[in-house]
Symmetry: C2
């Protein structure tokens, strides 16, 4: 297996990317291929005193930044880490691409170079959300790959999410819920009512609606949503978490007494921070493409990169991409929708 | 001024409602009218040893529960606290109705009994969201009155929210932002792009998009959104807040050392809890009706009721309802949209 990683993606590239790759490479037999300017990557590898044989470098001179228009950047920067990586996946020179770069560019390059799986209406970005229950995380998709939503996309998210969670967590029939404004059936706007109906008829373990309040408390393996709501959900949860943790950090260092108290309670506070820490869950797969792509947060450091590499292995080994392709080819509801001649293009 | 309060609305009615009313009534000159079964309310008033003259009781024998279909319940239960209250507002026998009862029933009764203000496409539920900035709270609307969204509704939310915040907080030109999946202009689906354009042309202090992550950190006075996204935003933030606070409560009572630490840091932890506490912000107005209606949370206790009564006073005194009516009658963008002959009915 060859795991490709964008050496220039994210705020702390290439240093932290290379450090994460080195840490993972020491533990696994798979080959890690780092894409980026060769001299730069080599320098970082030397700084890590890496002497192993399962890290390779593929020279890619260009970088796509977050400020560029994704579609245009992908067209123009053929020698960028992202476009090179996608082409390697396409040509069978790599099995999965991990990147902390621009999500828009990853998605655009994925669509242009790899293309969608046959039958998939829209690829989706899936992210692990912390959960206060056994299992400790819930897969949420779509987190914002598609802002214009249709019920079929939400329905396909249910299928893709089920397959991914089965592959990564080994849960035979992952439970799937639909993010909605009420738990009862019949809630929501037309889009969500229609998506509910389609999910109910799908060959997955669909378990009804879930409200935004309840996701963090666990209770299901996959939460499906349209890209707009998913993005709002994810970012508002993240904002609240950052705000509260920030307040604890600030208030508990005000004054001697509170500081002493915080020191005594330190190990517990650390445990709590860990529960709500998104960093060790291992990246956000872009599902529905003809190849495995794993997006990591732009502010990822060594640890996040390390975990992402570990999570990439079962993603490839269990052939999530092939299983999604097969599931979609058997999906009647979907084919019926497709025959209606609806738009198949990606914005 | 007569402040009507639903004595039977919410999980802790009538006891906590009456206690909150008594606490507020002791401080204000306005008359508080409690609606509910007369003997029951009287008993609670006696339990509070109330001997003042500015609390009245209006007998209303029926209660609409959360389990009932709102529209049907409103039609059938003419003697319910909510329907009686709305009729009193309509007949000039009260200036504002406060209720912790079913939001759906309040909205349905508001539409049936009071009706929408001329020019208002859809009433919206507005809620105060905590903010870690000066001012300490942001008004968010719509929180879920309308699940099917149109750009015009979002645009009108901007106008209504501005007027309400000016009335309650005395901010001359409240800053308004649009909840969206990116901060830059041009982000989002068609609905949000169109709403952005309409808000830009409105006679309000519109300041662009805001992401879900940033609302808690303050930075604007009003956040406008469609009802679906607003509901997702509010509930996911609430879930995260509940989850983290719950973890702190649980973990900091595990073991002697952590417990001792928590005791030392107690006053600070209490301060933090207060920052993220929604209870003292004073209810969620339903804006756009021909009368002032204030929804309080179903789990409201004495304190929440007390604050809601205090916040109801400037809501009435500054004639928010009249000001919205006037602003909408002057709104050209809106009239243009209306001439397109779009549906004016409420689902």
């Amino acid at each position: 297996m060859k795991i490709l990683i964008d050496g220039m993606g994210g705020d702390f590239a290439p240093k932290e990317i290379v450090k994460g790759a080195v840490r993972a490479a020491a533990e696994i037999d798979e080959t890690i291929v780092i894409l980026g300017p060769e001299d730069l990557i080599k320098k970082e590898l030397d700084a890590c005193r890496w002497s192993g044989s399962n890290i390779e470098i593929v020279n890619a001179a260009e970088v796509i930044s977050n400020d560029e228009t994704p579609a245009m950047a992908v067209r123009r920067k053929k020698d960028s880490t992202i476009v090179r990586g996608m082409n390697m996946i396409k040509d069978g020179e790599g099995d999965v691409l991990i990147s902390g770069g621009s999500t828009g560019a990853l998605l655009a390059a994925g669509l242009v170079v790899l293309g969608r799986l046959k039958g998939i209406r829209r690829p989706a970005i899936a992210a692990w959300f912390p959960a206060l229950s056994e299992g400790g995380s819930t897969l949420l998709l779509d987190c914002g790959a598609n802002v214009e939503a249709k019920p079929e996309y939400v329905y396909q998210n249910g299928i893709m999410g089920s397959i991914f969670v089965r592959a990564i967590k080994g849960i035979e029939k992952p439970s799937v819920k639909l993010l909605n404004i009420g738990a009862e059936a019949g809630k929501g706007d037309e889009l969500h009512k229609e998506a509910y109906k389609m999910l109910s008829e799908a060959d997955i373990n669909f378990d009804g609606n879930i409200e935004g309040r309840d996701v963090i408390f666990g209770g299901c393996d996959v939460v499906v949503t349209d890209g707009f709501s998913g993005n709002i959900f994810l970012k508002s949860s993240e904002g609240m978490s950052l705000a509260i943790m920030g307040q604890f950090k600030k208030k508990l260092t005000e004054g001697v007494v509170a500081k002493a108290g915080a020191m005594l309670a330190y190990s517990k506070i650390k445990e709590i921070r860990k529960v709500f820490d998104y960093s060790d869950v291992g990246g956000a797969p872009i599902l529905g493409l003809r190849g495995a792509v794993l997006k990591v947060h732009g502010n990822s450091k060594e640890t996040e990169v390390y975990y992402a590499i570990h999570k990439a292995i079962p993603y490839v080994r269990n052939d999530v991409t092939g299983m999604i392709a097969e599931a979609v080819s058997h999906s009647d509801g979907l084919s019926a929708k497709k025959e209606n001649g609806e738009d198949e293009g990606q914005e």
